[in-house]
Symmetry: C2
Subunit: 369 residues, 2 copies
DNA sequence: CTGAAAGCGCTTACAG
DNA sequence: CTGAAAGCGCTTACAG
């Protein structure tokens, strides 16, 4: 053997000086260094790291001492290459800026980092194109798993990724394919809850400000709204509820503000007796934007008009008019998703559904008109 | 050569059947497959990928055709191991749940993904311990770089990481060490701006609800408050301004609400003529919590008391009482930080400082008491 | 310009 | 139980 430890090409100027010139970043110790120090082979070092029990106690002790002395940490990249899987878990949400996702992401990170994984958080901007690209990139990274809020209803890319062996769990996706585990709340039931609350308060002219029509969440919440209405009519035998459905362009406060300005306010000002007395917004952010516009336009909440949201983001309770809303347990959702992912693929795919709960605060009241 | 392509251990049941049983996940093609198809060596394949110009045009074409036909994508893990750097960029913030950080993170992701990097977003919970652990983990991942909101004022772990060769840029850190590039706004000037605004409106009894006293942001904003006061006294020659400084336990709406309940409201109710007529909150979230409590307690904003925040998160404009605040250009901050990171370490470390700007909305007015 | 070979740092059957 | 060796998929001097 010649001086073999360096790559032939990697001889930087500093390397020419004494092995450990103090200002030069010391090369991190590797298995070989540990093996040398402990007087064993690299295989044994690896064994104490990966299969502790299959190694004689005294060897283990020597190796562990060497590891401690050198401050040795395995190189995760090399482990990933060899094992075919890395300590990364990819999390892909629609929008990094939406508190709903971030609450869930924070919960996910809690369980992932507790188990030694690193969370890779990215946004798909609810685009199926970006989702596909991201999923492919994550697949190539050999991530330990992927937690995805799917934009693509066909679940094509996700299914492929799963078929290639990467555990995937769908988050906030109701119609998950059989083979892929999922965690979500019952959006439909949640929306029904909101309408029932409004109905119970006495509202008969209701505006539903939904999100973009092509999103699954929107479709389901609309279905829930219609469920509640149908049920009500069946119960009362009367066809006395008027529903106005509007769509915002995104699930953001800004979009809510715009929608309020452009369409909600017109509905509210109808003089033919159809003006809504309550607005159900498909998420809290939308509700905030709406309330903001309403206030500027001189409406008082809930006196002039009731507003109810969806999600119960932390800010909902902190609004000047604390928002009545449908609570999604974001924390539990995130935790469950992460745990499901790590719990392994051995069991058949499970689909967890959480129940939304009506949280009454001050933005809803009996109608005065 | 014997049948050499498989790892000796990796012979799963399916592999025993015909090479490409349809239900089995096809092994992704590698350089060797491309080389074989193109009739060249793997070295040449690698060359067309990494040093396009050093390869004869006709060879390049054949290789590119093979790559396209096979849908070949380089394995980033192997590249990372060999090159010593991965396509990952680590971003570490205090709190995934704070819109300020997430706005910036969204901007960072925009530039990073445009350049082909993957963002790894994690939270340090503003703990120096967690920060150190995270930085070490990222270092071991051989990430392309790290964008950090530092909790540790000594910048010890960050400095070490940088010394080991990982590019680091500090984000929202004013007192960055010489050697590490940083991006931040002038917190001190921003806080002064807020106080000047209040003073100009005629307020003479001001409450400053700061964040946790041990955070750098808090210290600087307090300094800015004092600057403005000193300057005012110098200008007017009068010592007629009364400042009350309070600390919230965190930079959250919740903490703001608690602070309002526990201390701010007491100050407000002082009957000895010291009751503040305006409150400067060290961030918008705090301001939201405060406003929420104030409203419940019967105060009207801005008539009874003015409130001004800091950050200008998107929701600030969407509050029922749109919040006057000091705007940080989160987008630009994030973009600049990411670009600084990728622009390379060749230039001397740069420290970019952005100017905060006073954004007047409706939560501040002349005092009425 | 191209091919063959070494090596990144690890893990894992396999033979002793 | 341990050591030596092969190999994960790529990149890069180096010799032709």
């Amino acid at each position: 053997m010649t001086p073999p430890r360096r790559t032939p090409e990697g001889t930087s100027p500093q390397d020419a000086t004494t092995a450990s010139s103090p200002s030069v970043p010391r090369k991190a110790p590797g298995v070989k260094d540990v093996a040398a120090l402990a007087g064993v082979s690299v295989g044994s070092v690896s064994n104490v790291i990966n299969r502790r029990d299959s190694v004689r106690p005294d060897v283990r002790e020597r190796v562990e001492a060497a590891i401690a002395q050198l401050g040795y940490k395995p190189n995760p990249t090399a482990q990933a290459l060899r094992r075919g899987t890395s300590p990364l878990v990819g999390v892909a949400v629609f929008d990094l800026t939406n508190p709903f996702f971030m609450e869930a992401a924070a919960a996910m990170e809690r369980v992932l980092s507790r188990e030694g994984y690193i969370m890779t958080l990215s946004s798909t901007h609810a685009s199926v194109q970006e989702e596909r690209e991201l999923l492919e990139a994550l697949g190539r990274q050999a991530v330990r798993g992927v937690l995805l809020t799917p934009a693509d209803c066909t679940h094509e890319a996700a299914t492929r990724l799963a078929a290639e062996g990467t555990p995937v769990v769908l988050f906030d996706a109701a119609n998950a394919p059989e083979g892929i585990p999922s965690v979500s709340i019952d959006d439909r039931a949640g929306a029904a809850l909101a309408i029932e609350h409004l109905l119970a308060l006495g509202h008969r002219r209701i505006c539903f400000l939904n999100g973009p029509a092509d999103m699954r969440q929107s479709a389901q919440r609309l279905a829930g709204v219609e469920d509640a209405l149908a049920h009500w009519q069946q119960l009362t035998g009367a066809d006395n509820v008027r529903l106005t459905v509007l769509n915002a362009t995104a699930y953001t406060a800004q979009a809510g503000h715009c929608a309020a300005e452009n369409s909600v306010s017109q509905a509210l000002q109808a003089t033919d007796g159809t003006a809504p007395t309550a607005i159900f917004c498909a998420n809290d952010l939308l509700a905030m934007g709406v309330m903001s516009y309403l206030r500027v336009s001189g409406w008082t909440i809930p006196t002039d008009v009731s507003v109810i949201g969806f999600d119960d983001i932390p800010l909902a309770a902190q609004m000047p008019v604390p928002l009545t809303t449908i609570r999604q347990p974001m924390d539990e959702l995130g935790t469950a998703a992460a745990e499901l992912l790590l719990s392994g693929t051995d069991t058949p795919a499970r689909h967890l559904t959480f129940n939304p709960v009506l949280t009454i605060r001050e933005s809803t009241a009996h109608p005065t008109r």
